[in-house]
């Protein structure tokens, strides 16, 4: 199997898998969604909250803030040597204290160490009017998407077969109908010949096939080449998250092999 990044940004990736099967890529997709651990706020102690929002809503909003995750420094609380009491190996503490009038942002969460500082500092949590106060302490711990969606590191993940567009230029009469109907503008007429501009953009909708009266165009998906797209919420980078998923999947296959 060969993996190439077609597009790679900090929080977004488009990956091409070659010599593979849909079943295997789906296993990777499911691992990415439900098994990659990340950090999220789990316990919130509220000392003072005179804002317009209930304590629960504020705690819920805090839980969904993506926190930077250094997986080599943390372990799951259930597996930690502190027996689930909470220690520096499995817990990260944050404090927040603000008085109005102002908007409380995710950047106002003060971590115990600068490396845990929230990267996305502009998420509004609550608006405070004059004399309203918010003072709280939050504990973050590792979890997986299986437990709760706030621990899901990726979002908007999906894959498709690699599009293969076959054009029979003898049958084609350059009527331009397929070019117009294509929602992704994949086709073009160049030098009096129907041509494919960008195959990877094709979504296999087959509108061009339907509109062609002469059967000159055929769209197929190559099952052995798959394009996967995903975004991360910012707690892990797009590359890290895929590496981690492959590691976890590898471990699972090893376990299965041992038990057989």
């Amino acid at each position: 199997m060969k993996i190439t990044f077609l597009e790679l940004e900090d929080n977004y990736a488009k990956v091409l898998f070659e010599n593979t099967t849909p079943y295997f890529v789906n296993a990777i997709r499911r691992t990415l969604i439900s098994d990659v651990p990340k950090l999220a706020i789990e316990n919130v102690t509220i000392y003072d909250n005179t804002s317009a929002l209930f304590d629960e809503i504020i705690a819920h909003r805090l839980g969904m803030i993506p926190l930077p995750t250094h997986l080599d420094l943390l372990v799951f609380r259930e597996e930690c040597s502190c027996n689930g009491k909470g220690c520096p190996n499995c817990t990260v503490h944050y404090t927040l204290s603000k008085e109005g009038s102002c908007t409380v942002y995710s950047g106002d969460l003060r971590p115990e160490d600068a490396m845990w500082a929230v990267k996305d500092k502009n998420i509004p949590i609550v608006k405070l009017l004059k004399d309203q106060r918010l003072i709280l302490e939050a504990e973050a711990q590792l979890g997986t998407g299986k437990q709760h969606a706030k621990w899901q590191a990726v979002c908007g993940i999906g894959y498709k077969y690699y599009p293969v567009i076959e054009i029979d230029s003898e049958k084609c009469n350059l009527c331009n109908e397929c070019v117009e109907i294509c929602p992704r503008k994949v086709l073009e007429i160049k030098k009096k010949k129907l041509d494919v501009k960008n195959v990877e953009e094709c979504i296999l909708c087959k509108s061009c096939e339907e509109v062609c009266k002469r059967d000159a165009i055929k769209v197929k998906g190559d099952e052995n080449r798959i394009i996967m797209q995903y975004e991360t919420d910012g707690s892990l980078s797009a590359k890290e998250v895929l590496m981690e998923a492959l590691k976890i999947l590898h471990k699972k296959y090893d376990e299965l092999e041992k038990k057989l």
């Binding site: 969904m64 908007g156 919420d233």
Partner: protein
Amino acid sequence: MIIPVRCFTCGKVLGSLFEEYKKRVYIEGENPKKVLDDLKIRRYCCRRTIISHPVFVKGKEVKEPIDEAAQYE
């Protein structure tokens, strides 16, 4: 009302993007489509969450972007 931290459907973080969207669309009068594309909000679930969020400028609800917002600013 305050903007949801994440998209209801897919979980993308939108809270931090909305203030820029609000400023550019409702106060500076840019085309919403262009701003959404610039902010890399790709899926229609996230786009509807941003577009349909009610906007208040100086305490008054603004239903139509651009011109109406300008008179409260």
